[in-house]
Structure formats: structure tokens, C-alpha cells
Symmetry: none
Subunit: 193 residues, 4 copies
């Protein structure tokens, strides 16, 4: 399996760095290959084409979020606790990898519609887990049981996304992790009955 070979992850990581440092449209295959320390042609032994690299980057990295979130959900705690941990986790991962934050919040959004659709379908898995937490909280009475789940999810994700994108656009000038509790409180306030 290609995905298990060391060069696969090596190229994925090189792509994140190359895109973060050069920008989406300036991250040519040759730059990614150079960053990965392989020949241009070697890229094509592991990826079908450039689009495949970009989607794989998102998939591999998003996988971390999903796995963390699954673990958080499986631990029997209150929905409030789960949502808090989800928010903290989201902030932590990106606060600790500015290259990745730049790529997911700014650069990858410059991709064409086809790639963005595929990225979105990967994102859906994450949002489905978020929905689970919200619905559970509504049933348990922790969150407003009459709210529209879709809109609640859009508020939670939209707020997180906007917060992190602003942090990236402001060139990481402030401490992102410190804002997490504030975001958490405000969102929980909005969700409560």
C-alpha cells in the first residue's frame, strides 16, 4: 500500500510546507519535489496528479482532527465537555502547526471548484461528529432543545473557522490558544437553552 510507504507522508508534509511558504499557485510540483527531496517524477509514483496531492494533504491532516474528535466523543462525559474539548483540540492543532493553518485556512481555498468539493466531502465527516455532540446535548438538555442543529453547527464551525482565519491573516500576531476559552464560552452561551 502506497499510503504506508515513508515517501508518501514525506511528500504530503513537503506539500504543506511548499504551499505555506510559496502560496497555492506558486507551489509547483518541482518545488514540492525539491522540498521532499525526491525527483519530480517520483511524486507521480505516489500520487495520480497534483489535485491528488492537494486532496490527500487535506485528507491526511483532517484525519487527525477526526480521530481526536472520535476519541473525545467516545469518552463518556457531558456534551458541554465534549464540545469544549473539540474546540480546544481544533485550536491546539492549528496553533501548533502554522504551516498547516496557513494551508487549510488560506491557500487550499484557492483551489478550483472540483478540488473544493472533494475537500468539502472530507470535511463533512468532521461536521457529522460535531452534529452528534450537538444532538446529544439537545437530548440531554445541556443545549437548547428547540434549536436548529444545522444552524448551531454552522455557528460553531463558522466561529471557529473565522477566528482561526483571522489569526492567520493577522500573521499569528496574537496567541491563538488564549482565545480558545473565550470562544468556547461564547458558543456555549449561544447554545444553551
Amino acid at each position: 500500500m502506497k499510503r504506508d510507504k515513508p515517501k508518501y507522508k514525506q511528500i504530503i508534509d513537503a506539500a504543506v510546507i511548499a504551499i505555506a511558504e510559496n502560496g497555492y499557485h506558486q507551489a509547483q510540483i518541482s518545488k514540492i519535489a525539491k522540498q521532499a527531496g525526491v525527483a519530480d517524477g517520483t511524486i507521480y509514483l505516489y500520487f495520480k496528479n497534483k489535485e491528488d496531492i492537494l486532496i490527500s494533504v487535506f485528507q491526511e491532516k483532517m484525519g487527525v482532527f477526526v480521530e481526536s474528535l472520535q476519541e473525545i466523543i467516545s469518552n463518556g462525559e457531558s456534551s458541554t465537555e465534549k464540545l469544549s474539548k473539540m474546540i480546544d483540540n481544533h485550536f491546539n492543532v492549528l496553533a501548533n502547526d502554522r504551516h498547516l493553518a496557513t494551508v487549510t485556512q488560506l491557500e487550499l481555498r484557492q483551489s478550483n471548484k472540483e478540488i473544493r468539493l472533494k475537500i468539502n466531502s472530507i470535511l463533512k465527516e468532521y461536521l457529522k461528529l460535531l452534529d452528534e455532540i450537538l444532538i446529544e446535548g439537545m437530548l440531554k438538555g445541556e443545549f437548547n432543545s428547540t434549536m436548529d442543529v444545522r444552524i448551531a453547527r454552522q455557528m460553531v464551525f463558522g466561529t471557529i473557522d473565522e477566528t482561526i482565519t483571522s489569526w492567520v491573516m493577522n500573521e499569528f500576531r496574537y496567541n491563538l490558544i488564549e482565545t480558545a476559552p473565550k470562544v468556547r464560552n461564547m458558543l456555549l452561551n449561544g447554545l444553551k437553552g
Copy 2:
């Protein structure tokens, strides 16, 4: 002043249509010119370059939001009322112009970092007015007086933005205006002390 001449707005409107119908990367100057009914070269009598068109599109169209919001603010009402009206206005304008919604929520975000930074600085004017409402509400005791304004603003804007983007991505399948009151309630809940 070239911005007053009829062809200026003609080209702006043509750009919105061309981008909405063809997508950002497929909206070549020749397509915009054709849509506007002018020659390619004529575009350059009114705009410095393609980037200038895109930024001008955002600027001209964003102006509508800013003007409406200024009027809303100047009417002496409660901050809650002002925020509600701001949200309703934002939803209404885009619900009534799907081309514009597609362009602002999806297509223009595919532009490169440089253009996006300029777009963001135009957006700042709008966000500053939003901040005014929030601060006023905090002082008047309508909103939680201890909250971080920046985060509150990011929640309000992020939620609106995510909601509308989802609507566009779901190809306008549901009635956007109907969701406005739900979004409003949830946000006001999050802001209240």
C-alpha cells in the same frame, strides 16, 4: 472621474455575472468584456488590471452593505434591534442576488493572498460598524459587558458567513431568509450577559 461613467458599472456588473456563471478561474478578461459588450482593450481604460476589477467588484457591492448598516446604526434603537437588522439586511441582500452571493461566498475566495488581503481591508469598514453595535450594546448592558469584542464580532460574522456559504454550496436549495431569525436568536443568545 472614471467611476462615474456608465461603462464602469457596466463592466463591474458584467464581471459579477461572468464570474458567477463561469467560475473565478474561467472568468477571463475576454469573457467579462464580451458580457459587458465592450472590447477587451476597453476594460483597461477603466481598470488598471484584472486584480483591480475584482477588488472593485467587492468594493462597489460591499458599499451597499456598509451604507445600509450606517443607516441602521443612525436610527436610534436598541443595539439588539440594530444587530438584528444588520443580520436581516445581510441575508436579504444576498438572498436576492444569487450571482453576487456566489461571487462573494465562493468564487472571490479563490483569488490569491494579495487580492484577499485587499478584500479583507475593504471588509474592515463593515466589521468596524459591527464592532460599534457590539460595543454600544455592551455599554448599554444589552450584551455581556465582559466579552471580548473581537471574538464576538468573529462569532457574528463567522456564523453569518458560514450560513450563507452553505446555502450557496447547497445550490440555494432552501429558503435563506427563513433561516435569518434562527441565526439571529442564536447569536443574540450567545452575546447576552
Copy 3:
């Protein structure tokens, strides 16, 4: 109409020279453009893609053969006379344009199947006229009235083609025009009843 503009023919002629001098696979667009004295991009104002150039080359040049042949046929003479003139004409045109001979006999045959199929359908028009002459000659009793027209046509065309290809492959070492009468006599001998 593009085909009437001077640059259209200019590029066609440049392509013949570039292909003859560099070989099919070494006749890059940039070489053709340089030979034509235009920019690479200009090529694409007149031709859809490289394949379009190659097919157009054949079409334009083959047109000369077809037109000459139509004129020959329309002149009321014996079929023997018509066939003789057709053979002479074929030899004359290529003997007088070695670049063209190289391109049609050697280089263009390196093209892929798709292009070759299109070239062949252009060639069909020429072969149909040849068939007309043969059938007329059979009816008039000048040629063997029991022969298979397809095979007769293949003998005539195959012999001409092989003769000229050999001349090109032997680097034009002998006088092609001098061989025309001998080819003519031998073919007429084969066709007679």
C-alpha cells in the same frame, strides 16, 4: 474567415519547412512560430491546436493535387491521357517542393492514429477521382474491363507512393521527373486489357 488571412498560409508554409528540416517530433510549436515569424501564441489564433496545424498542412497541400486532378478530368481526353497527366502532375508537384515531399512521404506518417485517420479521409477525395478515371477507362475499353477497380487503384497509388518515398529516402539523389514516364508506361501496361 481565418483561412483567408495571410498569416494562415504563412503558418502552414512555416510548418512544412519546420517539419521537413527538423523532423516530425522535433517540429515544436515554438520552431514553427519562429519560422513563421510570429509569436507562439499567435499560432493559436489560427489553429485550434498542433494537430489542427498538421491536418491543415495536409489539407491545404493535398488541395493542390485534387484541384489539378479535377481540371485534368474535366478536359475531354482519353482516360489514358488523364491517368498520364495525373501521374505526371503528382510527380511534378513533389519534385518541385522537396520540403513538401519529405513531409508527406516521411514525416507526417509518424503522426498518431487519430491524425492519420483524418489525413486518410482527406486522401480519399483524391483516390475517388483516380477511381473515376479508372472506371471511365474500363467502360471505354481503354483499360481491362474485367479488373478489380480497388486493386487497380492500389497499384497506381501504391506504385507512385513507393516511387516518391524511395526518392525522398535516397535524399533526392536522382531526378524524379525523369522516372515519371517509365512509371506511367509500366502502370498503363498493367491496366490495359
Copy 4:
């Protein structure tokens, strides 16, 4: 001698199949290797490079024609008889191996000038035997003693070649062997004094 090892012929046969089924330009080394059941690198233990394979294919397969023709010539019969047998043999071999017919008549002709020149020099041996028959026939008075041997040879070979190529291009739709006698009669008619 590497040509005696079983893998040598195995690769040659694999090349014929790979080229016939995929086309000249799509018959990559990897496809030939797969068809032959060996690794890509193994090819290079038996052939210097790809060009060497293609030339060897022609050489090995052409050898069959040459041997048959030598046998035909050595049997003391009339030149007419020899030529007839030569034509029949040529048609028979290709009619019975459509892969080979496709490769020699269509695909191998897409090779570059260099390879085609080498292929031609291999073909010369065959054409020399054809010349022998023709000259003998001229001396014996069976063929027109004043004709130009080169042109006679080009007529014979050109006609055969064109006939078979048409058959391949028409996707073997008609029975090639049945056309052999007609071709033979027409050619003999052309050659006779």
C-alpha cells in the same frame, strides 16, 4: 548468444502484441515487459534500448519473408512462377498474423526517421531477392526486357504494400488472400513485354 535465449524471442513476441494492441506510441517499455512477463529492467539485459527492440522485431519477422523467398528462388521454375509465389507468400504470412500485419503496415511506420532508415536497410535484402527474380525474368524474356528494374520493383512492392495496408486500415474486413491472384495478374500484366 543472447538471441538464442528463450527470453529474447519472448520479448520480441510481446513487443508485437503490445504494439498491435496499444499502438506504437502507447507501447511503453513497461507494457512490453508486462506482456513478456518480465521486469522492465530485464528488457535491457537483452536489448540495448527501445529502438533496438523495434528494429529487432522487424528483423526477426522479416527473416521469415527472406527465408521463404530464398527457398522459392532456389526452386528452378519460371520467373513468373517465382514472382507469383513471392506475392502469395507475402499475402499469406500477413493474412495469418494480423498483429504482425498491424505492426509492420501501420504502427512501425510511426517510428522516427532514424529507425525507419534502419528498417529500410533490413528490407533491402528482401528487395534484392525481388530484383533477382525481375532481372532473371527480363533476361529470360518473361518480363519486358527494356524496363527499369528499380521502377518495376517499386511497382511490385508498392502495390503489395498498399494493398495490405488498405486491408489493415479497413480492419481486415475483406479476405486478403482472395485478392492475391488479382494483384498477381495485374502486376504480371504490367511487367510483361
